[in-house]
């Protein structure tokens, strides 16, 4: 496992530096412009949850190195576990780096007390897990092209949804109900009181989402003909 992590690091070192440069610029801009810690948190998680697993898993697809990795003396289950571990470590470090920048910079508009709480950290991990848990198996199954098609389709769907929302008007309709449900869910998550029960539920959800995603990825990777 450690050998795989080391290999992933060595093979992706350049990618990590590029990501770090892009994210630094983006985080600096966000810390300067955004004053809501919740908006900052959600945006940060979106960036991390999408870009990091996409970068690591997609790179293997880009260079078609899956056969190389699978010809090494390790089981495929361990390879998948390493992908989750490396994505998790990178996302964790990315989140920490983003939060640190947002709180430590002199021109930041976000207060440290509001963002560096157990609840914020757990919510961040939950949101990141939610995204990455979908992106990793999806990339394993459909590759880099699949994920690009998915992201573009998501954007187009958003445009179509906005147009439909305009056309359907302000009255109750299924589209508006769906969007409202997502919005309410996110609002509940962000504004819920940080009771021990809520925090435990969040922690359990993080484990469950990652565990389920790992099982799906493992099954997909085991069935993959290279």
């Amino acid at each position: 496992m450690l050998k795989l992590l080391r290999m992933e690091y060595l093979l992706n070192r350049r990618q990590i530096l590029i990501m770090l440069a892009i994210f630094s610029g983006y985080f600096l801009f966000m810390a300067y412009r955004i004053d809501s810690p919740r908006v900052f948190l959600v945006t940060l998680c979106l960036m991390m949850g999408l870009a990091v697993p996409f970068g690591f898993v997609g790179r293997e697809d880009k260079f078609k190195t899956a056969a190389l990795v699978c010809s090494l003396p390790v089981r495929r289950t361990t390879i998948v576990l390493a992908k989750y571990a490396v994505s998790g470590i990178a996302m964790g470090l990315g989140l920490a780096y983003g939060l640190l920048l947002a709180t430590a910079l002199p021109f930041t508009k976000i207060s440290v007390a509001e963002i560096l709480t157990v609840k914020s950290v757990l919510i961040s991990l939950f949101l990141v897990s939610l995204l990455s848990s979908f992106i990793i198996p999806f990339t394993i199954r459909f590759g880099l092209a699949g994920i690009i098609i998915f992201l573009v389709s998501g954007q187009l769907l958003g445009v179509v949804a906005l147009i439909l929302a305009q056309l359907l008007g302000r009255g109750p309709n299924p589209l508006r109900s769906a969007i409202t449900a997502v919005e309410k869910g996110l609002r509940t998550l962000l504004y819920h009181e940080a009771t021990p029960g809520f925090l435990a539920l969040l922690a359990a959800a993080i484990i469950a989402v990652n565990g389920l995603s790992f099982l799906v990825s493992r099954a997909l990777y085991a069935r993959r003909d290279l």
């Binding site: 080391r6 060595l10 260079f63 010809s71 090494l72 003396p73 003909d225």
Partner: protein
């Protein structure tokens, strides 16, 4: 004979191609050539040995161990060379080697650098700047640097110029001087196999046509050529394939001695080359 690989009843079905009932052994300490025309199933067999694709049925044992149950132990003793070497394009050769080395307990950095030097490759060269031949050489250096007991190579000489091919085959020949080492390499270039292989396994349309010692094959197989239309292919003993034209019959036999004694001077009976065998079996009018 002690076998490095034992394959029994291997099956893999694709939509347009099925590898079926593949059974053969690869003797330890020798070079075995897996020969067949393009699309015969050579790469599929090698990928199944490496568990890069899932089999539908059958059994593969490497060093006496099941290749699925003992995957990590087996792969640690295999040096694998792909038909198209795939490594991260933007990394230097030494970086790729450094990432892979910890997986192999017997990795020898000195040997790796010596092999690169042999091939006139610099460890600081970026992978994408290598030609196809150089990529193949790098791939071979990686495979040999961890003192693998079994070298598996999928079409290693395809697309290489004669100089590269000669160097690569010489490396294999030198490697086999150590009698513990085994090489299985697939190729459709028959001259390469005639030069270095000890055993030949011929695969065609997903089935093994024969598997035997190269010298035995070249000694006992032959081509019978008869002018005129008097001879039927079925009359040729040990018939394996034939080609008939209006005025002549050419037939491949696996028993040239029997053919000679049967036809005497009435037919030309010459020893068959691997190229003849591949041609008649894969492109002839029929085969037995």
């Amino acid at each position: 004979m002690d076998n490095a690989i034992e394959i029994k009843g291997l099956r893999k079905a694709y939509k347009s191609f099925t590898l079926d009932g593949v059974t053969f052994d690869v003797p330890r300490g020798y070079i075995t050539g897996l020969i067949g025309p393009n699309g015969a199933g050579k790469t599929t067999v090698i990928k199944l040995i490496m568990n890069l694709i899932r089999r539908n049925a059958g059994e593969v044992k490497v060093f006496g161990l099941d290749n699925l149950r003992h995957e990590p132990e087996i792969k640690a003793r295999i040096g694998f060379v792909y038909d198209v070497p795939r490594f991260p394009e933007d990394l230097r050769l030494e970086q790729i080697a450094s990432a892979l080395a910890p997986f192999y307990p017997k990795w020898d950095r000195g040997r790796f650098l010596a092999l690169l030097d042999d091939f006139k490759l610099s460890p600081r060269t970026v992978f994408k700047k290598l030609s196809h031949g150089m990529k193949m050489q790098f791939s071979l250096a990686l495979a040999l640097a961890h003192d693998a007991d079994l070298i598996l190579m999928d079409e290693p000489t395809a697309g290489l110029d004669p100089v590269f091919r000669f160097e690569l085959l010489e490396k294999l020949r030198a490697l086999i001087q150590d009698e513990r080492k085994t090489v299985l390499f697939s190729s459709h270039i028959t001259s390469d196999l005639e030069r270095v292989a000890d055993f030949i396994t011929f695969i065609h349309r997903g089935r093994i046509m024969f598997s035997a010692g190269k010298d035995d094959i070249l000694e006992s197989w032959g081509v019978v050529r008869v002018s005129g239309g008097g001879l039927r292919p079925e009359d040729v003993p040990g018939l394996r394939g034939y080609r008939r034209s209006e005025y002549s019959l050419e037939a491949l036999t696996s028993d040239i001695a029997a053919a000679r004694s049967r036809f005497g001077g009435s037919a030309a009976c010459d020893k068959a080359s691997l190229e003849d065998i591949m041609f008649f079996i894969s492109r002839g009018d029929t085969h037995a």
